[in-house]
């Protein structure tokens, strides 16, 4: 399940781009799940551990992936840590739910991410409540961010 803490969380990694640059493994990039995220969010194709083909930027290194995809990979591959997922746009929301579909993940949000019109299971740590829709999530999130 996805667990969210809204608002200031000192133990969360705030600058995920810098953390990614100094922490990622080559295997993360060529992982099948990462390839799907990179294709969907960045419209880019993974050519190898160190090269991604971007339609806008050309052949790029993993460090030049979008801030959103870098944070998604950190959430996926470093489950013991908490990251500031406000570096992700709304187009990353479905991937956060997928990453946490069968495993627990905790993220820190400092804005209101739109998880879409569908149903979901999200545990909001601040109020210790599980919500299933934006209608349920929003009144809680607005209290904290």
């Amino acid at each position: 399940m996805l667990h969210i803490f809204y608002g200031d969380m000192p133990e969360a990694i705030f600058n995920t781009a810098v953390f990614f640059r100094n922490s990622y493994d080559d295997e993360w990039i060529v992982d099948a799940f990462s390839r799907q995220m990179i294709a969907d969010v960045d419209s880019s194709t993974v050519l190898g551990t160190g090269v991604i083909d971007s339609p806008v930027l050309g052949k790029i290194a993993p460090e030049r992936l979008s801030g959103g995809v870098k944070t998604l990979m950190l959430v996926k591959f470093m489950p013991e840590m908490v990251f500031n997922a406000s570096t992700c746009g709304n187009n990353c929301a479905k991937w956060l739910l997928k990453i946490a579909e069968n495993e627990d993940r905790t993220i820190n949000l400092r804005n209101i991410m739109d998880f879409g019109k569908g149903k979901f299971d999200i545990h909001i740590i601040n109020d210790d409540k599980i919500v299933h829709s934006m209608e349920e999530l929003l009144p809680i999130a607005i209290k904290y961010v």
């Binding site: 600058n15 930027l57 801030g67 406000s86 992700c88 187009n91 400092r110 934006m134 009144p139």
Partner: protein, 323 residues
């Protein structure tokens, strides 16, 4: 600093073209739209000049602010357009808000956070989109677009409640108007409370707030609007701006001030355009029957003719107000 500034940032592969209109511009939106790439290109040009392969065309220097020495660095900048990428938590601090108040620089800040300490306009929150590619150069052209369209309430739905952001003169005016048409008018006791008041309102409701400083609340309000269809917005620059628009007040160059406020609003004096219009109105009416104070509405503005002139400046509300 005053004025609006066109900025064009080019590399062989990418071009960004946008206009900076006020002291604070916020850039956010979906991932992978090129926000960080823009800031990186400007940084490359700052550090390496022509060797970077990046050119920047702008009347003012465009610079990037980052890192732990931001306070030292910001103190050295004057009349620049300062870009800050996301991931720098100093933008959340009171120290940062204090540093950019009374600053001669304009700031373009990439962030999805509210920045509630900073009074930015609903009109100056942008996303970035690719609007095309040059076929020969294979170059992608990026432009800014307003993330929250400030489309005013059109009066087509009847309203049961008006919510204003505070209890100052604007609220007193709208309370009077609301009472005359049998509509409730509640003050939210500060713009950061508006979303909470909206959640507890049965609706249909109209939020009337100062658009010049309501930017930090827009994400919360627009998310609420996605799940409720009975929330409407009316976000003029400010109540004082409405009075100035109404024609009640005579002042030299007023038409030009209202048409091109960016040529008059000095970022060193005013943190937001709302503050500027308040000072213009106060100065213009000092010692006259229309003397304006923000905390308590001069009853002269509620005289029928004057009230109707102010209401006429809010053409989009005419249906609601029965005119």
């Amino acid at each position: 600093m005053r004025g609006i500034y066109d900025v064009v940032v080019n590399s062989r592969r990418l071009q960004y073209k946008f206009t900076v209109r006020r002291n604070i511009t916020i850039v956010r939106g979906q991932s992978a739209t090129g926000k960080t790439t823009l800031v990186d290109m400007i940084r490359d040009c700052n550090e390496n000049g022509i060797d970077s392969g990046v050119t920047i065309r702008c009347e003012r220097d465009c610079v990037v602010l980052s890192g732990r020495n931001w306070q030292r660095d910001i103190a050295e900048l004057e009349n620049c357009i300062v870009f800050i990428d996301e991931g720098h938590n100093f933008v959340l601090s009171q120290d940062f808000a204090k540093a950019i108040r009374n600053s001669s620089n304009y700031y373009v800040i990439v962030t999805r956070e509210r920045l509630e300490n900073i009074p930015y306009s609903v009109d100056e929150i942008y996303g970035i989109r690719i609007s095309g590619k040059y076929a020969e150069l294979k170059s992608a052209y990026h432009e800014f677009y307003q993330l929250y369209e400030n489309v005013p309430y059109d009066g087509s739905t009847s309203i049961r409640e008006i919510i204003t952001e505070d209890s100052n003169s604007g609220h007193q005016f709208f309370s009077e108007v609301a009472q005359s048409i049998g509509v409730k008018c509640n003050a939210a006791a500060g713009k950061s409370n508006v979303a909470s008041v909206v959640m507890h309102s049965a609706g249909p409701l109209l939020i009337v707030a100062d658009g010049a400083a309501f930017g930090p609340e827009m994400e919360r309000i627009t998310e609420l609007m996605k799940i409720r269809e009975d929330i409407f917005l009316y976000l003029p620059e400010s109540f004082e701006w409405l009075i100035l628009q109404s024609g009640l007040i005579a002042k030299e160059h007023l038409a030009d001030i209202l048409a091109k406020p960016y040529d008059y609003v000095d970022s060193e004096k005013y943190f937001s355009w709302e503050q500027f219009f308040t000072v213009v109105l106060q100065d213009s009416t000092k010692g006259t029957a229309y003397q304006y104070t923000k905390s308590r509405l001069n009853p002269v503005y509620l005289h029928e003719n004057n009230k109707m002139k102010i209401l006429a400046a809010m053409s989009s509300l005419s249906a609601l107000l029965g005119r």
